[in-house]
Symmetry: C2
Subunit: 239 residues, 2 copies
DNA sequence: TCAAAAGTGTTCGATATACACCCATGC
DNA sequence: GCATGGGTGTATATCGAACACTTTTGA
């Protein structure tokens, strides 16, 4: 037997983005309920089962964490640095969380998007979860900081390829201002608001509702919604 | 021990593109030297070693196959369908090629680009290799046909993100006509030749050489080369 | 002189950018 | 009435698309 071929467990890790306070936020979980160390956070993830595809494993992690079935998600990279799980703390945690002795761990990373105000019904092993702005992510175990760094690059590419997925980050009803700030945040640049209004008007699948903000101490903004059917129709009629 | 977590080998598979006769070609290998069945082809790949990152494993496969160190490559997806290696023929071959009994196999797929006329010095276990046009790929083992299908989508995205990598598919000296045909092939559409000349002229990193074709029975085309340093300089000066 | 591919400019429409003021609301 | 954010139009520059003829070379 060629003992030098890797024989290993495989996990998935999910970088779940939410948008709030003009910041992208990431949903992290407490790695160990016992430890009250505030920095004891990690990306949600799981080893995959022996009859499970990685995409399904990611969906399972997301479902157990949020209670949402079929979240929008995207695999973006396999992380397999032989040293990625070799710190003493990480090895100790792995062997405590999963009984088998794990020498090395390969993970497949996923991006997902979530309406941050949505109530999450966590049924996972992680009892505590926390949204943290991307600018305030503490040092995390394994290579989770690197995974997040890559995810931040990947999210733009994803939106470039499929502009509709940005609406996953907004409430069902949203204002142009919210969408504007989200674009500015994702692309990290100022976008002229008048040109932006024109751009939104050109998106026929962003439809205005007969509803406005109430109880705001300024002119009330109109609400809009994203119409997925109109979007699909438009996409398919392009040659 | 939670026996239902996957514990498995992991492989890499490489989709190597070359450009010739106005077609994208893929470099396939004979899976089994014994069998003379012409269709006994597969993507080049390997199980990964226990101290090896997946990127390094892909570089190793490419090096052993082509003799080229540090080929341009890009990881594009992990394929982990539990059934992907479960046909009888595939299981039999796996267990013959690699002594350990392999029940399931997860693979990480890579894209790579190669100047098709470059002489390859194959030192891999595969004694026979073959360039095949993408339109003539026969049924392949495992999910290799699906991997190739995804690779064909991914190659465009890659070129969109990093226009320079398209030159990996051309000889060091090339004509505008060759570049034109390559673009038409990759994007599968006609591109107006006059507009294309303008576009090339705007690429300051494509520099014309004082050299022309010889012994062609028509007006001799000028040769150009891709200047990587100029390209990088241009990229970094963009805000 | 013919066949075959190389090379060359202009016009038009669409899209992106720059830019400043009035409007509605709650306090 | 004032502070706060919402909402609007025009002019210019840039980019991409359409379109046809002359040049060079070997046979």
């Amino acid at each position: 037997m060629a003992t030098n071929f890797i024989h290993t467990y495989v996990s998935v890790d999910c970088v779940i983005f939410g948008f709030e306070h003009n910041m992208l936020n990431i949903l992290l979980v407490k790695r160990d309920a016992d430890m009250e160390d505030a920095k004891n956070l990690k990306l949600p993830g799981s080893l995959i089962y022996d009859n499970e595809d990685v995409d399904d494993a990611a969906q399972r992690v997301l479902y157990e964490l949020t209670g949402i079935k079929r979240m929008t998600l995207r695999q973006f990279r396999c992380f397999a640095d032989p040293e990625r799980a070799s710190s003493e703390v990480d090895k100790k945690w792995l062997n405590k969380a999963y009984q088998p002795n794990i020498e090395r761990l390969i993970t497949v990373a996923y991006l997902s998007l979530c309406k941050i105000n949505r109530k999450l019904t966590n049924v996972s092993k992680y009892k505590q979860t926390q949204w943290l702005p991307v600018t305030e992510i503490p040092p995390l175990p394994f290579d989770h900081n690197k995974i997040i760094k890559d995810a931040l690059i990947e999210i733009r590419t994803w939106i470039d390829r499929d502009p509709a997925i940005i609406f996953e980050l907004l409430p069902v009803k949203f204002t142009v201002s919210q969408l504007h700030k989200l674009y500015e945040t994702v692309y990290n640049k100022k976008i002229d608001i008048r040109n932006f209004h024109k751009k939104v008007a050109a998106m026929t699948y962003v439809v205005s509702l007969d509803e406005r903000q109430t109880n705001v101490s300024h002119r009330a903004a109109r609400f809009y919604k994203f119409d997925r059917k109109l979007y699909r129709k438009q996409q398919t009629t392009m040659s």
